[in-house]
Amino acid sequence: MESLANLAYGFDLAFSPYNLFVAGIGVLFGVIIGILPGLGGTSGVAILLPLTFVMPPSSAIVFLSCIYWGALFGGAITSILFNIPGEPWSVATMFDGHPMATSGRAGQALGSAFVPGFFSALIAVLLFTFFAPPLADFALRFGPPENFAVLLLAFSTFTGLGGGSPAKAFAVTAIGFMLATVGLDFVTGRPRLTFGSITMLSGFSFITVSIGLFGIGEILYSAEETLEIKGVRARVGLKDFTVVLQTIWRNIASFFTGTLLGFWIGIMPGTGATPASFLSYGLAKKLSRHPEKFGTGIPEGVMATETAAHAAGIGALLPMITLGIPGSPTAAVILGGLYIWGLLPGPQLFTEQKEFVWGLIASMYIGNAMGVLLCLFLVPFFAAIMRIPSPILTPIIVLLSLIGAYAVNNSTFDIWLVLIFGLIGYVFKKLNYPLAPLVVALVLGDITEEVLRQSLILSNGSISIFFTRPIAAFFVAIAVTLFFLPALARFWRWIEGKSLLPAKG
């Protein structure tokens, strides 16, 4: 096996003291960047990119990719503890992670993010190691119609997300779609719903919106609900670890779906870890034996999101290396680094720059192992944060939220947006409107509109393009089935009931 020999060579490089040091620093930076809301892996990698100019390219890529792995781990921490998304892909981690943390299971929630995340990354790296070039070739068969079909699948899993009244869920979904259209229309290049304001041209970043809706909204809501200090007792022990392993074992199917789905969506150009995390969460809920428990604080929910996010992170680097196409925004910045270091991405990298490619792949193993160890080691410390009395903790969370909002686009307008959406989140929560569908519609609405309209330009406006291309048709079929599954199940039960009747009589 040539790959094995190359991998051994890669490990040899990655285990050099300098590269190990660089990897460790990268992971540490990444975890910190991941914890800080708003300051995502993308910005983190971009900010630290100039530091790599003094390194050889093979160390530089180890450094940058390790920041990415660190951020993937760190993002979950803020989501679980504070209900603020530390990273775009950890929004769905909040749905179950935060309820777990507030009910005294912070350690378990963190463990359910880190451990499955690590294992899924490991599987993704193994796939990367042995199948990178053929996978990249296959990814090229995904044009706009195929991407649309996959996103349609994501939407079909999200019907009924958040529970409660379907009419309310429909209303907030519509608001989410509407917010997604604000800004410069991508296809015509014309402004939409900006009311002549230049600031509005940037549109609504879904990170800003979710920091407001979830973070600030939650604080307002809980401030009103309980005046006494909550001080959740969070004990962390080895027991939590076994619970986490049991969760993986019991939901092994969901674990593998999340991993493979995440990996594949990561490879598809232009999507990245965020849609993957939502799709995996939606799918896990749809296929679960007890979907109603999702959103109330169950480890499966956290696991589903994090497995997909971690696998997608690895997947996103695959088309970057082999084709020069970034699979995610963070990969786009790393790709910029490649050009700056004087390397040209493409299949020839595997033959001409062996040191670089295999050093990178080896660092994926090492970086993820370092990340999970670091984070697990810190779990008791993070869990202890939940014991800080809320009069002290709350202002810190508000401060973090506002800094995070500013960091997204360096815009003071976003700080106001967070506060406004905080109020909206509070009102919605009071009136029992689910928030999750709004965020999902906002984040997926944008990309879905883009690929839908691209497809329709390609087909001169005919929707047959989604049924005549085999890959697209396959995903559309699954999406439609999932969409009508609840209705079908009811119909089935009705038929069964009918057939029982004559037997009775």
């Binding site: 230049i198 970034p326 790709l335």
Partner: protein, 332 residues
Amino acid sequence: METRRFLVSLLFGVSFVFFETWSNVNAWEPTKPVEFIIMAGQGGGADKYARLISGLVDKHNLAPVPMVPINKVGGAGAVAMDYVHGKKGDDHTIMITLSSFVMTPIAQKLPFNYKAFTPISLLALDNFFLWVHKDSPWKSVADVVSAAKERSLKVGGTGSKQEDELIFTFFEQRAGLKPFSYVPFKGGGTVAANLVGKHIEASVNNPSEGLPHYPSKLRALATFAENRHTGSKQFKELPTVKELGYDISYQMMRGIFGPPDMPKEAREFYAGLMKKVFDLRDFQGFLGKNVLDAKYLKGDDFAKWVEKYNKLHVEVMNKAGWAKDTTARLSR
């Protein structure tokens, strides 16, 4: 003892002289970190240049303060331009620009255009090739033209009503072709991938975006530059579209601008700093590898160049019906 004292005083003397000349040559210097505004998102073309420049300034110690790249995303550059426009007279803000610097004010209703900003320097011109898939029956520009006269070709590019679509429109106008079905994508790499995956039939990707697939999957038919790329190993034989009989030449500006009314000393300082960056071997190597034309201009020469550049855009965009007064009625 004596030699030691001598050495110390010598060191003092030398550093004093050095300091004196340094402060004489550079009358003005930035005193705090410089905001380096990027009018596009992280990972895009402009972002790559900004981070390369800021990294090189650091690495070679070219400035007393760091240049901090800051992305201002939105409105095809309008948000960044608005931000810098609001910093009238500021001497610690500069902006890296691309074609949208002239195109966005033509297409959108904005309270400013390129004239409001202080031109500092031009660094490079990015090239565009006409690409098709290697399996495509089209072996030359003439093949593409004859096909495009028959039917509307499916082509792709970065963004809507930005440089890629401009070039296709330009081509369409000058060669008398049927209007292209133009599919906008978010990034150049994605455009190239869609061409390799045969989802579109042609693209005008930058060389750096096409190179990962060249020559295994893609074929370059011509360059839209004024002259052939004689300095490039791979592409010195590539014909220009102009020599093939279509009067088109287009390149993308990679330049640096400052806020309105930037003080003259600051303008001089940044122009000088960019010249130092431009002359670095690292920078020239980067340009060469990505088949960009190195071109340094500053001051009035650069201002004149931008004026001409703007005129070309106004012409093509007016004819295509993209300028703001005409397109209110004509949307696609």
